[in-house]
Symmetry: C2
C-alpha cells in the first residue's frame, strides 16, 4: 500500500532506542539499570561551566544563522584543526552541521551516485552503513585485524578498490573498537586514494579521546584534494543533545554542501551555536574533565575484564569503547537482550557493527562512574558464570 | 577533479544568504537596511515568555533524546492536529524533526525513487524543488492561477498525473504567495490521489497565519493512507533558530522515517525540544503576538501597495508573504540586486520560486514593524518611479 524507497525499506531499524526501551521497560526490577549503551561522555556543561551570558535570553538564538554557521565557530574549529593539519584550513573550508551524523550523511550524499562503492573498515558505526545504503550506494566492509587491535587491513582494502570506489570512510579513533589507525597505514591509503581520485572521509568525532600516546592522523594530508573531515563538538564538550558538528573540506565542496544543508537543515540549531560560542573558552576544562573520567573508567575496565575468562578484549587507545569477544558461539543479540532482562545492564551487540562480529559486544564507558563500572562489570561476570 | 553527485551539482545555490550578504555589504550607506527577505515572524520567546525553568541548566538538554522526539512534544502536536483532523493521530503518528525543511526532505527521501515524479504547484518554495532534485526525482511544476489568488490549477495538475507520479506537495498557507488552497480543490485532489496511490505531502508550516477566515485543510482527510503532514514550530512560536518541526504520517512510515532520522540527525536538538516544552503553555500568547503583528503589517501593505501603480498584488489570506508583479518586462533578479544597492531594501526575486515568475518579487512582512513597512515600501515606490 505505501510506496517506500527500497533502499530505505531494506535498512535495519536503528538499534539504540530498541535496547534503551528494553532497559527501561523489561529490566530486572531487583537491579538498578546500568547503561553501557549510548556513546556519550559523562559531564555536560552544567558540570564545568557557569553561564554568565545565557544564550536563552539572546534574540539571535531564535533566528536563522548563515547556512555555513556562525563565523566564530568556524574560526574556532579552523584554529583547532590548523594545529594538526599540513594544509591550511580557512573559514571557507568549513560548514557547521547538526552533529557529526548529519555531517557524514551530507558528505556522502554530496559525493555518491547510485551504485558507487564505499569501503568501510569493519566493525563499523552502524549509522555509516545506514547512510550509504539509503543513498543507494554499496558498502564494501573490510574486516579490521583484531589481533593488531582492530587495525586496518590494508591489503584487504586495496584489493577491493575498483573504478566504482568513490569513498573510504576512516573513523579514527574508532567507534566501536576504540582503535586509532596507524598513521603509516592512513598515509599509504591516502597516497593510493590521491592517485585513484578516491576521497577519504575521516570521521574525527573522538579526536579528543586518545590515551597514553600522541596521535595526529591529520598530519599526513597535504591538501583537501582527497580529504573530507567530519567531526563533532558533542564528545569534546559533552553536548550530544545540542546536535552540532562540522565538515572540513575543499571550498568547492563546501559551496555544494551549502545546497544540501539549506535543503535539509537551513542551518545548525542557532541556540546550540550560541551555547557552543560560550563554551569555547572552557574547551580544555571540558576535555580534561570528560577525558580523565573516561581514562579512569578505561583503566578500571582493563583490570576488571582480566578477571572474566569468558571475555576477550584487545585493548585500544581511543574513544570510550571496549569491543569484547564473547565465548565462541554466543549470539550477541540474545546475550544483550538476556543481560538486560536478567541483570539490568545494557551493552550493544556486535551484530549491529557488522555481520562478522555477531559474538562481540560493545561497552561504552564514557558516561559511567566508578561504581557503575564496578557493579555493571560484576553483573556481566556473574551472568557469564551462570550461563556458560 | 572532485566527484560530486550530478543531481546536487545541478541544483542552484541557495539564494537567501547571497542576498543577505548583498544587503549587509553592498547596500546604500545613506539608508538603513530594511529586510523583507527571510520568512520569519517578528517576536521571539524573549518577547512573550519568562523562563522560570531554564533548559540551559537541565542536564537532559545536553543528551540524546529518543529518535522520535520527546513524548510530550508529540503529545502536544497530536492534540493540536486532532482538533482539525478527521482521523485520530496518536503518538506513533509523529516524529519530531530539525525543522520543517528537515521534515520535508526526510518525507521525500523516504518515498521517492530515482526518476519518480513530484507535482508541485508553482510558485513554489525553492527548498522543495532543491530537495526533489537532489534525491534524483523529477519536479513537475504546475503554475497556479494568479487571477484566483494563486489557487491550484486542478485540471493542469490532473493532466500531469501518470504512473511515475508519487507525490503532490501542497504548501498551504503558501510560501511565497500566501494563498490558502480551496478546501474543495484539495478534496478533489485527495480523492484522485487515493485512487492512484499518490501521497499528498501537506506542508503546514504557516498553519497559524490565516487572516479573516476559518481554514482547515486537514478536515478532508479520513486516513493517513495518502497523507503526510510536515510542519514547524518555528513560525508559531517565533523560534526559527531552534530548528524544530514534525512529520505526521502513518506509523509504518514513521517507523521507516526513524531510520532516516537516526542516520541524518539522531534526534532533533534536545535543548530546542526542552525549550519548546516550556513554551507550549504560552502557545496562544505567541500566536496572538506574532499573528497580530503580521496582520497589522499585511493591512498596511494592502493600503501602501495600492499607491504604487507599477506593482500588482492579488492579495491572499495566509502566511506572511506578498507575491507582487513587477512592470511587465522587468527582471526580478536584477531588480532585487539594484534595490539593495540603491535603496538598501531586500525583497526576494520571483525567479527563485519558479521560472514563470521572473517578473515577480516576494515581500516577507512577518518580521518588520510599522515603520519598516512604511519606510521600506516608500523606498520601493521611489525606486520604481525613478527607474520605470
Amino acid at each position: 500500500m505505501f510506496n517506500i524507497n527500497n533502499n530505505i525499506l531494506n535498512v535495519d531499524s536503528p538499534p539504540i532506542d530498541y535496547f534503551n526501551n528494553l532497559l527501561s521497560k523489561n529490566s530486572n526490577p531487583n537491579y538498578n539499570p546500568i547503561s553501557f549503551g549510548h556513546g556519550i561522555p559523562r559531564f555536560t556543561p552544567i558540570d564545568y561551566f557557569d553561564f554568565n551570558n545565557n544564550p536563552i535570553f539572546e534574540p539571535s538564538s531564535y533566528k536563522y544563522s548563515e547556512i555555513r554557521g556562525h563565523v566564530k565557530i568556524r574560526q574556532f574549529i579552523s584554529n583547532k584543526l590548523n594545529l594538526k593539519l599540513n594544509v591550511k584550513a580557512d573559514l571557507d573550508n568549513f560548514i557547521i552541521t547538526s552533529g557529526a551524523n548529519s555531517a557524514l550523511f551530507k558528505a556522502l550524499f554530496l559525493k555518491l551516485e547510485q551504485g558507487d562503492e564505499v569501503i568501510v573498515p569493519s566493525p563499523v558505526y552502524f549509522n555509516h552503513i545506514m547512510a550509504i545504503q539509503m543513498i543507494g550506494a554499496i558498502t564494501v566492509e573490510i574486516d579490521s585485524i583484531e589481533k593488531n587491535g582492530f587495525q586496518l587491513n590494508i591489503p584487504g582494502i586495496i584489493n577491493q578498490i575498483n573504478d566504482k570506489t568513490k569513498v573510504i570512510i576512516l573513523n579514527s579513533p574508532n567507534n566501536p573498537t576504540g582503535a586509532i589507525y596507524d598513521i603509516n597505514d592512513i598515509k599509504h591509503l591516502s597516497e593510493i586514494c590521491l592517485k585513484k581520485n578516491i576521497t577519504i572521509i575521516l570521521d574525527y568525532t573522538y579526536e579528543d579521546y586518545i590515551y597514553g600516546t600522541d596521535y595526529n592522523p591529520l598530519q599526513i594530508f597535504n591538501s583537501f584534494e582527497n580529504l573530507i573531515i567530519v567531526g563533532s563538538f558533542s564528545k569534546t564538550f559533552g553536548i550530544t543533545g545540542l546536535r552540532i558538528g562540522y565538515i572540513c573540506a575543499d571550498p568547492h565542496l563546501i559551496d555544494n554542501l551549502c545546497k544540501i544543508q539549506d535543503t535539509i537543515s537551513i542551518c545548525a540549531p542557532v541556540i546550540s551555536q550560541n551555547i557552543l560560542l560560550e563554551l569555547i573558552q572552557s574547551e580544555s576544562k571540558a576535555i580534561n574533565k570528560n577525558k580523565l573520567s573516561a581514562e579512569f573508567s578505561r583503566n578500571k575496565l582493563i583490570e576488571l575484564i582480566k578477571t572474566i575468562p569468558q571475555l576477550e578484549w584487545i585493548t585500544t587507545k581511543g574513544a570510550f569503547y571496549a569491543f569484547l569477544k564473547l565465548p565462541k558461539e554466543m549470539n550477541s543479540w540474545e546475550f544483550t537482550r538476556d543481560l538486560i532482562v536478567n541483570k539490568s545492564v545494557l551493552v550493544l551487540p556486535g551484530t549491529i557493527f557488522g555481520e562478522t562480529w555477531k559474538s562481540y559486544i560493545r561497552i561504552a564507558y564514557g558516561a559511567v562512574d566508578s561504581d557503575e563500572i564496578d557493579e555493571g562489570i560484576h553483573r556481566i561476570k556473574n551472568y557469564l558464570e551462570e550461563t556458560t
